[in-house]
Symmetry: C3
């Protein structure tokens, strides 16, 4: 059996049917706020501190990943995976197939935080899913035990909520340098017990005081939701654009709330790199700097979410500068100007991140 390291540990059996891999990721953030009405505290936090074990057992893939940031223990991926009919069948806890930015690893997102739209994603849930692809076409479908708490770690065994998600993507390579990607997702949940709540941090993950509810159904009834989303990305050399739109409804027998969200991002590599995109899974990947001093990327995003039933909205503009010191180490600087409820709270923030994974 052979061993290798990129900072972690990887062992592979000679016939390839067993693999053992140990690794992790660290993201350490700092934020300074120019507050408006809400009193966000400047400071630092571990945004992610994860260790994982993954590999192969008798040819079956597995992964276990636990996040220890800020003194909590939160299970992320924890699944077994089998090759079935050219695709992958996954059983356990994993990110459900829904929207593009959600499925792109936090190690590879352009900004420190994902857009408001991703707050509607079920993220890690216990279920069964299948992802397949055929030429430029990819598709996934999953059924899961649905949790209603946006901070939940999954797997708590006390909910009878269920959900299903599906995603279809089309990612043709138009030329050697140009990639196009379009896709659509659907999410249905039902039987959700307790509070059904979706909220966003308006000005980065440390903006705990500027964290309004978009949806907050707490009538004691069981609730359900139906959400549709569209995604678009295009990469032409050092330039890329990505955008997603989402619309949906949360309801109980007595309440109905309609929501929508949208973001558009553009990014440009000053040092000439191109954002890698995996056409088979519809996710952005790891940037590899061309030069020893690393890669520099500038980016801008417009981010929007609304609850149409409440006439409530949050929007922001984010500017970003990323330095990819090497393929595994990245420093990020974000400026965020946010607007909660049309001027009732307008926090600005400068946030920074040190990130490495292995």
């Amino acid at each position: 059996d052979t061993v290798s390291t990129k900072g972690g540990i990887k062992v592979k059996s000679d016939d390839g049917s067993f693999v053992g891999e140990f690794g992790g990721r660290l993201m350490l953030d700092a934020a300074v706020f120019d507050n408006d009405t809400a009193d966000n505290a400047s400071g630092t936090e571990f945004r992610r501190l994860r260790l994982h074990s993954k590999g192969k057992i008798h040819g079956l893939g597995y992964k276990i990943e636990v996040d220890f940031a800020d003194g909590d223990t939160v299970t992320k991926d924890a699944y077994l995976q089998m090759a079935v009919a050219g695709g992958k069948l996954t059983i356990g806890q994993f990110k459900q197939y829904f929207t593009m930015e959600n499925l792109t690893s936090s190690r590879y997102t352009t900004f420190m935080e994902r857009s408001y739209l991703t707050s509607f994603s079920p993220s890690y849930q216990v279920g069964v899913g299948y992802w397949g692809h055929y030429n430029a076409l990819g598709f996934g479908i999953s059924a899961f035990n649905a949790y209603q708490d946006e901070d939940a770690d999954g797997g708590s065994g006390t909910t009878e909520g269920v959900g299903g998600s599906a995603r279809v993507i089309f990612s043709p390579s138009l030329s050697e340098d140009v990639t196009l990607h379009v896709g659509g997702s659907a999410l249905v949940t039902g039987g959700i017990e307790g509070r059904n709540r979706v909220r966003v941090r308006a000005a980065g993950h440390l903006s705990d005081a500027s964290r309004p509810d978009i949806v907050n159904i707490n009538t004691g009834e069981r609730s359900e939701s139906t959400i549709f989303a569209l995604e678009f990305a295009s990469i032409a050399g050092p330039l890329s654009v990505q955008a997603e739109y989402l619309g949906g409804t949360f309801e109980t027998e007595t309440v109905e709330q309609d929501v929508a969200a949208f973001y558009a991002t553009t990014s440009y590599f000053l040092t000439g790199e191109s954002r890698p995109f995996n056409a088979k899974t519809g996710k952005f990947g790891r940037v590899k700097p061309r030069k020893p001093h690393g890669a520099y990327e500038i980016a801008a995003r417009y981010d929007y979410v609304e609850n149409d039933s409440n006439d409530f909205e949050v929007e922001s503009v984010t500017l970003g500068l990323n330095w990819y010191m090497n393929p595994q180490v990245r420093f990020m600087l974000n400026y965020i100007a946010a607007d909660v409820a049309e001027g009732s709270d307008e926090p600005n923030a400068v946030t920074a991140r040190m990130q490495f994974d292995f």
Copy 2:
């Protein structure tokens, strides 16, 4: 130094006096209840999600294992082990020597949950123990700092309770295919502070609502207990039977409660495998399927516990079907029909598990 993998990572020094091993186990459960009077919630949970490090340091064995299921952090094994007089001296936190099913790894039990009887086991406690064996005879003795909370993680440093346990086994090999095993255990604890409580989940680990107390002494006095147990197992090719009986007393200066428990299990491998049994330690071991499509096992259990002083009892019948996909991956299906307090709550459950270890 050489490295190998079975999904985890193992490194061994050339002279064998150092070993470093990293691995884990995942058990993901689902349950659907047909409730009677108690309202058990159907759903899913990580039953176990453990990572461990073990090996040898200058020839001394060690193990550290932590369970992260459901957002908790619970230390399991955490000990140093030395070879003494042909046996093993263990210092640290480990499963005390008491009863057979308790000591058999959760990876190798026939049913998803151990029997009610095992709820009386001290399980992982901080102490010192010795296990030795001579031909078909094995014996263990241990002294420990005793905890009264059935959910405790051990090592919390706030109890002055103490305990001692002992186990003697006789496991002759009657022929190439036939193993017989008999044994007895004793457990004594004293000076237990706070509530002294033993409770069981009547219909599987997700049956939180059908979770009656068998013992619940909460008089403010210190309490003590004395428990004796007998164990029996026999394996004849694909067929095995296993049974244990336990009787004991919990008491304070003002209260006395007498308890008893019993279970009997039989299992049969449709695909011809035989349950491995380690005669030196008196524990069942890892099933290795003979065929590429895996091994299939069917099993049944009668399970009973009573508090004679309260005239309170819980009993259940469990039917099981196990598919050993390979030696490290197992899928389990259990049907449980339980009866709490002679008809006052009769929950039925269908439960399923996906399990792998590496």
Copy 3:
């Protein structure tokens, strides 16, 4: 890439620019109290149960260490480290450069617990620091996001406190057998929100009931502190002495509290070993027994802390016996006679530890 083990796992790439290492440490304690007025409970606890991953990523050092003792999850080291101008620049969470015993690893301290003086150390904090050395001279400086809670795990992102620390050391080697070390540290914090509290466990870590406040400012104002410390150590063959003195002030706009602390330790190896000392970093290191049966060390400490403003003091005498079974396994026995507030609580304790690391 090559692999090795000392109980953990270490992989090194052929060019040395990548290293992946997995290891941990366990310290299991027991204490028996002869209580005076406070009611300390005798018992056991995991004092430290840590797993870590460290190594190199494209030539940059990193470390992630998490402590799981007693069911908590506490991040310790979590940083990225770069070689700059002959020294080391560290970004992330790490022990700030302040006093000698604080910076010496818990694996290498003479007694089970550090002295009262070390309670004033900021310990692990999120910040940026630089450590350099030139011949017998070493120096460090760091700036950090300061936490006020003595039990905090750092990185919680909710404080706006800031701090700076600096340390200068001079550690000439006087002869082959004789090392001298002197040094000084300074610590300044400001903008500390909430309670600013420093307390000590008078008679070891299990003496939860004999745990008086030295400083406890809780006026609702922001507080600040300024502390200076001096350190001294000398090693002459099997004999070593080490001592530190500290004095400082905690204040808000309305309150001022002056504190001081001092300890002196002497240790002698009955088996002739000498305590290793790293002159470049000013820390004690790993003892390596000369003989197969291990090394034996006896030690004594006088320990003192006072709040001059309150006229409150805690002092103790500790006697210690250490058996280094091998370089990675150590057993410790400490006798502590403590005096809180001049006779108002005089607990005595016998404490023991089993320790190993890999």
